[in-house]
């Protein structure tokens, strides 16, 4: 299997703070990875490097076989359409109905006229409905997104990635506002989505139990460096205690 992600010596600085400090990471296609670590460890930055919204100051980045920063406009767009992100702050547009926020996942493949038309007469409703049903939100399809609760919005963001059908799924705390049952389902959906297209998943998680249940590999990030890297199956509670001990 080819590599979905290949990072070598990646550094990212924001002013004086160094968010990523020499990260080497190889992700094979089909891997499902949980990113653990305290807040400020660089987990979100790592995902932002992978989806191309942050360009590292040093090191090399290969995502699905290409460097997102080196590609010209159109090719960069095509690559981005193959990488789907559930952002930590969701980044939905509250003034739009849920259906449009979900459909926004397809903007990478839709021509501009279709995107505009869809705002007047929603396009691809069947797929949107299927995605919303998977996150248990079908009856809110035509509601304005700002009327939804935090947990419901999180599920809209997941539905957006579901209709995007990317090969690499990045998720930043995708279950933070969900109750345990829904959180498990959300993770199962995201890893199922990755598996369905023979793709990979990288998810920042707070809950080690979720990580062990849904991921094949666990990475621990502390102060911009990878401090833990082990297959989930072989990870013992002692390893985790060790890791969480390191950061204290």
């Amino acid at each position: 299997m080819g590599a979905a992600v290949r990072l070598e010596g990646v550094r990212v600085s924001f002013g004086a703070t160094r968010a990523l400090d020499g990260v080497d990471l190889h992700v094979a296609t089909g891997e499902r990875i949980a990113l653990l670590g305290p807040s400020g460890a660089g987990k979100s930055t790592l995902l932002n490097v992978l989806n191309g919204s942050v360009t590292p100051s040093a090191g090399s980045v290969q995502v699905l076989g290409a460097d997102p920063a080196a590609l010209p406009g159109r090719a960069a767009r095509r690559l981005r359409a193959r990488v789907g992100t559930v952002h930590q702050h969701l980044e939905l547009v509250g003034a739009l109905r849920v259906v449009h926020n979900v459909n926004a996942g397809r903007l990478g493949s839709w021509p501009a006229w279709r995107a505009a038309l869809s705002l007047l007469r929603p396009q691809g409703v069947a797929q949107v409905a299927a995605a919303l049903e998977q996150v248990d939100l079908l009856e809110r399809m035509y509601e304005r997104t700002e009327r939804l609760s935090g947990g419901q919005r999180q599920r809209v963001a997941i539905a957006r990635v579901l209709v995007q059908r990317p090969e690499l799924v990045l998720a930043d705390e995708p279950a933070s506002a969900l109750d345990p049952a829904l959180a498990g389902r959300a993770l199962a959906l995201l890893s199922g989505l990755a598996a369905e297209r023979g793709g990979s998943l990288l998810a920042c998680l707070h809950d080690p139990a979720l990580a062990l249940a849904h991921c094949t590999r666990v990475l621990g990030l502390v102060e911009g460096r990878i401090a833990l890297d082990a297959p989930a199956a072989r990870l013992t509670p002692a390893d985790l205690a060790d890791f969480y001990g390191v950061r204290r």
């Binding site: 919204s53 547009v93 449009h100 926004a104 505009a116 069947a126 409905a129 299927a130 049903e133 009856e139």
Partner: protein, 559 residues
Amino acid sequence: MSGALERPVPVPATGAATAAVPVLHRSRARWAWALGALAVVAWSLAGAGLFSGEVLNPAGARQFARFAAGALSPDLSGGFVRVLGTSALVTVAYAASGAALAVLIGALGAPLLARTSWGRGRSGWAGWALARALVAVPRGLHEAVWGLLLLNVLGLDPWVGVLAIAVPYGAVTATVFADLLEEVPRGPREALLAAGAGRGTSALYALLPAAAGDLLAYACYRLECAVRSAVVLGLIGAGGLGYQLSLSFTSLRWEQVWSCVYALSLLCVGAVVAGRAVRRRLADPPPAPAGERARGGPRLHRDRLLTAAVAAVAALVAWSWWYLALDPAGLGAERTREQLSLLLAQSWPPRVSGPLLGSLAGAAVETVQMSVVAVALATLGAVLVSGPAARPVHRPGPVRGVLGALLRLGLLLLRAVPAPVWALVLLFVLRPGILPGALALGLYTLGVLGRLSAEAVEELDPRPAQALAGLGAGPAGTWFYAVAPRAAGAVLAYALYRWEVAVRDSVLVGLLGAGGLGAVLATALQTFDRPTATSTLVVLVLLTCAVDLVSARARAVVR
């Protein structure tokens, strides 16, 4: 959950979903307003003669070209620059004293317009409603109309220019001040009243401090507006930059016209930058200096910048008073009172003959059409330029940076030049009628609305748009899904506000010959036909009130 609202329907067999897909319910009110607005715009365009051909006047193209060429070679000779400098001082003096008086009127009048000061019950409501209705009269008339009316009473006196600004501005300021005070939470004041404080002192301790920032910010905004109004008053003879502009225009000295335009732009930029600095400071005050405990107990810190700004404004007002040689005795003089009673006696009762009412109705329709065409064009233009004219979050590329700077400069020129001047320019290439007036008003409004829309776009949180770009959306897709839906409400609300302003401004354009109620009023005033002038003014005030009501309803739907 919301099954009562959204009727479930069976999914077609091909659908991927197995449960019932909800049905899209569109907001009927919004669609009705949108279709109504489109119909009104089409009707107004037809009324402006856009579809009847014969709108262009090719013969004027050369004069227009000469005018446009002047933009690159403004008259910067020492003599003319000195003239411009003196004119700018006159304009500033009128603006400062007019705005200061308006703020004073606003502060004194606000308690009369606040709902709470009238007490509860039906009589309180009636008194409040009456006060609000009375204030619609000074509000509904354009500064230029007040200028012409006051000219009849005071003769050639600097008070004409000052009062022409102060009266309508004072009425608006009083209304806004009253609304700002109403928005302050009641609790703290009621606590003071319950503890035995007087009405005045309780307001001083519990109302004013809470509203002070907003009140001061609004006063600054009024000062900025007053600069533009002072220029317009200059056009009708009050002196200053506007007067200089009209002199240069009528003598076809295009280089001088452009020098005036650039001077106006500088003045507007100066006023806006100063006003914005003060408003930013009020909204986001700097923290108190650290280490104050070390130096023996807390001390009272005043914001130096704000103190300096307040002192500067006070000095500016005092200087304007002196510079214009304003004499309060002139207002109470025997002659003024005679003129006023004479004017009132001649003006009452208004003329109500059938033919006059018919022509007034026709003129009112023209005024409405002119304002609708202007705002429709301005809104369309503002939507198109708002994206590129907004300052981007990240450092833009060279092309984008230059384009943005040019657009912002263009918008500045559009709003620095008063609408009547644009009308005169357009008359080179368009046949007379309401179309040049509407286009001129549209250009000016575009200058204002384009800037406001760009600011609305700048204020948006950039992250949702970045998230869409991150999943491969192009510029158009990002605009449709992340920018437009979030900025649309603010832009439409601004457009509706500007429509109210455009109705008032279309009277000004009409005064200078572009048709509508302004033209009727100008003729009546020139022929000393006072009863007709009174009827026209009544129609004008009623029309302004009607437009305010419609605009407020539409804004409520947009929200």
